[in-house]
Structure formats: C-alpha cells, structure tokens
Amino acid sequence: MRRKLIAAIGVAAVLTGVAACGGSDNKSDSGKSSSAGPADFKGKTLNVWLMSGSNPPGWTKDITAAFEKQYPGAKLKITVQQWDGIQQKLTTALSESTPPDVIEVGNTQTPYYAATGGLKDLTSVKADIGGNDWAPSLNGSAVYNGKQFAAPWYFASRVVVYNKKIWTAAGITTPPKTQDELFSDLDKIKAKGTKDAFYLPGQDWYGFDGFLLDAGADLVKKDGDKYTGNLDTPQAASAISLYKKLNGYGTAPKDKDEATPQQSDVFAKGDVGAFLGLGWEAAGAITKNPALKDQVGFFAFPGKTAAKTASVFVGGSNLAITQGSKNPELAQDFLKMAMSDQFEGELAKEGGVVPNKASLDSNLSGNEFGTVSAAAAANGGTTPLIPAWGSVENVPNPITTLFMTGVLQGQSPSAAAKKADAEIDKRLSQQ
C-alpha cells in the first residue's frame, strides 16, 4: 500500500512538474517529493475546507493521524465552513493565489464551480483515487462536460426524525406507512398537547424539492436549449400544499430555514414530535440533550400509498482539488485517502451518511438513520446538474423567499410561483 502510494506521488509529481506554470517553489517541491524521503514534507500544510456537519470527530482525528503519518512533517489543516454564504467565500477563495487545496462542494453546486475553471480536472487520476467503483448515480454531479472535476464523497437524504417518547405517549406504535397515516398520527400527537407535532421551517427547500419530485416535477424545465423555472405547475402547487399542511403542525417560522435556529436545537428541547432532517442533526440534538439518547427514531417520509416511500432530494457533497492548489500531490493523496474503503467506510459508519459505493453500505448496519436514509435515497433525485443552477441557490434564494414563504404566508401558489419563476429565469439566463 505504502509503496504504491509513493509511486503514485512520483507520477503526480512529474505531471504537475510539467503542468505548473512558473512557481519555482512548486517545481522544487515536486522534484523533492519524487524521491520521497520523510523530511520532504516538512513545513507543508494541506488546507482542507469541509462544511459544517460533514466531518464527525472520530473520522477527523483518524484521517489527520493517518495523513500526517504518511507524510511526516506535513500538516493537515481542516477548516470547517458554514453553509451560510459559502458560495461567495468559495468563489473568492478560488480566485486567490493560494486557495485551500481541497474543498468540499455541495453536489448541487459542483457543476457551477466546475464551469468556472476553479476546480482541477481529475479525469486522468480518477481510476487511481478509486473512481471505477463509484456509484454512477452519485457521481453525476461531479462530472461536467465529460470530465471528472470532483470525487463524490457522501450522500444523504432527509428522513423523518421523531421523538419516540412523544409518539408512544400518543399511542402510536409503528411508523406511518402512508401520508394519510402520518397526518392522523400527527393529529393524535397534537391532541395530546404537543405544540410542535412536526417542526418544519418554511424555507427547507431540500425538503420541498423531495415533495416536488414525488409529485412528479422538477424545479426547472428544459425549454429548447435553455432552462426555465417550473414552479407554476399543478405538481408544485400540490407539493407546496403538502408542505404547508405539515408546517401547520408546529410553530416553526414560515420565513426561516432549518438552520436559523438549528432545527436540531429545537428538537433537543424534547417537546418536538418530529422533524425532517439528517443524521448529524439527530446526533447534534442528542449531544445537546443526552436524555434523548434512546428516544430518537427515524422513518422515511411516507408516500401517498404504502407501496413505496416518497421521493426525496438526495443531497451530498463532493471533494475537489482547487486549480490553484500549491500542493496538488498532497491534495490528490488526501483525496485518495478520503475515498478509500477505510475512511469512506468510517465516515458512513460514524456520520450515518450514504457512502459513494454500494459495497460500503454494510457500514450503515447499526446506524438507524443511515439505513433508513440509504433506502430512501434509492428513490431520490437532485437539482438539475447544470452550472447555472448554482446562481439560483444564491441568497436570497427565490424558491424559499418568494415561493415557499409566499405561499405559507397566504399567497396563492400560482401567484408566488410566477414571482419565483421570473427570478429563477433571470438567474439562469445571467450565467
């Protein structure tokens, strides 16, 4: 393993030695690393930006140790970034002379950054970092114009996280199989005096996208060779009315997203029946209120019928190397390490997220969220994988501020959709 790695560094070093323009610094570095003595990495720091909620503590500790053992003297610096305002941060960082070496990019935003030229083309090294085993459906967002610009890292779909104590107290013993059952269960919980039978803030558009996919529509439609907003449709109207109904089962704000306040914090208070969330949110709630430890359960959002669960939005993250990275060899090896069965498996196990290849799914056994989420993800979709999509997500996101909050606060779905579609069209055409 080790020898192979060193050989890989050698190849990478030669490649970058040719590709690097100028940067005498760079050349001498790669020249040295091909001879791979232990001291060669002294003073080098690999800067990795990960998103809040992505890196569980055990995984972080282990991969840091492994990396620094592999490259004595080198340092792995992981900086955790907030999702809020990340696009502005990434764009400016990618334009700098010393950008972070490795960045985590949300799957819906990856084509946008691939198109800017800020990400390194990984096509030639894809096989080396394990790309042949990646599940094609999960790799889709990392490919742009036929080239591989990122490595699919992990995935997750939102499921219902519920407080077993509250549900049992309302006399419910099995999770609902249909949406009708879900609502009758929530009615029972509400009748017991729980104010927040279901906590769904008005701007969780990932959640809404799931409902929309389930209704059989997409956020945008292709119109000739360009994309336009697609919210003024009967499907979107039915999705948002389901959303509105669910929002009505609690006191969640209609004009805030799931992070303000963190819905896991709200759930941690112990008086919330359920929310639509991810594994790390459930874990966060338990950290905050350990009394919840054995009370948290999960089930996939039910479909209209018991035949299958509802479609979901499959969120996820890719890891990419920046075009301007000063440590491309180290970055590539970090990527390889993160994608390896060992660390990809550990991430799945500890974080409860869906790994990038089916062979690692066994790591999810015992992780209730992971199991439910992986099963739900089989029936999932995502936003359109086009670069222009990234602009739609920019703050203020028209899907949430114009459409969702608009409808939740009493506008007709069609009127709110017209406003949102107009803004979406504007943003899609500006790219």
Partner: protein
Amino acid sequence: MRRSLFGRLWPNLVAGILFVFFVFPVYWMLTTAFKPDLDIISTTPVFVPFHGTTSHFDKAVHAAGFWTLVRNSLTVTIGAVLLSLLLATAAAFAVARMRFRGRKAFVLIVMVAQMAPWEVMTISVYMIVRDQDMLNKLLPLTLFYMMMVMPFTIWTLRGFIAAVPKELEESALMDGCTRFQAFMRVVLPLLAPGLMSTSLFGFITAWNEFPLVLILNKESGQTLPLWLTQFQTNFGDDWGATMAASSLFTLPVVVVFLVLQRRAVAGLTAGAVKG
C-alpha cells in the same frame, strides 16, 4: 423662575422614560447573558436574573481562537485610530489655519471621502488586496479602517483647531518657538477633547466593521465582528451565548467611552465657560 409642580415634574418623568428606552436593550443583553437557559425561554420574561450563571460566557470565550480574534481586533482598531489621528491632525491644521491654493478642493475631497459607501465597494477593495498578495493580513485592514475614519477625523479636528485662539499660537511664535513647537505646546494640549472624541468615533467604526474583513481574511487575521456574526449562526437560537458574546464585544467600547468621555467632557466644560 416659578414653575408649576407639573412644569417641574414632566421633564423628569420624560427623562425617566427615555432613560429606560435607551438603557433597556443594553440591560436586556446583559441580563440574558447571565440567565440560565430556562429563564431565557420562559413565556414570562425574567427581568432580574436571581439565579445568575456565567456558563454562557464560558461558552463564548471558549470558542476556538477567541483570544487571537481579540488581539487582532485590538491591533487593527488601535492602529487605525492612531494612524488616522496622525494624518488628520496635520491635514486639519493646514485647512483650519492656512490659506493655500487648492484648499477648497481638499475640503471637497474630504467631504466626498466621508460619503464613501465602503460596504458596496468590498469587491474592488478585495481585488486590489488580493492582487497585492496581502490577504489574511492585518495591515490592509488597518489601512482601510484608517481611511474609513480619517475624513470624519479631519472634519472634526478642523473645527477644534479653528476654535483655539490664534493669539495664543502667535504669542508662542513671538517667544521664538517654531511653528511646529508652537503647535505642540499650545494647540495640541487644547485639542485633547477633540482628539478624544474623534478617537472614540474611530474606535467604534473600526471595531464594528465586518463586510470587508469577511471577504479579505478568510483564513487568518479575522476579527471579533466575524466571530459574533458566525457565533449566532453556529449557536442558532442559543440566545444566552449570543448575548454573552454581544456583551463581551460591547465591553471594550464602553471602557473606551468611559475613559475618553470624561476627558472630552472636561474639555467641553472649559469651552463652555469661555463661550
């Protein structure tokens, strides 16, 4: 002067109400910071925290790198204020005391500079700093913060300098002082209140700034306003911790106010007697 009871009473009454209006947000911030969580989110607000806790402060101070941020903020703020005082005093003296061609143009430049909307120029400032390879450093921040407060400082000091009787300076010149010595010995001491009040203004402005540091210093060289705004995102509706952080952030400004305000007011009374 005879005033009815009502005539004597109402100003005090109004003053009392105004006092509450101005102090309440500050009071509420402080008490929330000391309240245990259950008191914070109780449906009946707890106005006096009998069961005080400092746990929110612990949480705020233990945020990663807190003391580095404090140091950065202090360095940048104090640096900007001192630099701006130095440059502004010189310029203000010229404008207030000397007649020269281009003086009017300079006054106009200062006035326009005072209006600069920095928040919407962040990207051009960013590109300049980026292309100079000066990102993540404290120096550009210090310089730009100086620039933000300098026009106001010139503007204000000029008024103070003009108010110093010219005869004082002239008699010093007669006594054989150079113009510079006359300034240092006669004018500068009388400027103390002006220097204080402009420092105060500069301190608040630089201490508060965040759109620029947000985009310039993503890796290091970050300052407290970033911490405060991110703190709120990180901790969601943890109002106790957020208010503790806000209190800590406000504290240095209050200290500076208390230290400087007294001198500034002392100077003011002297001026009042003269006028």
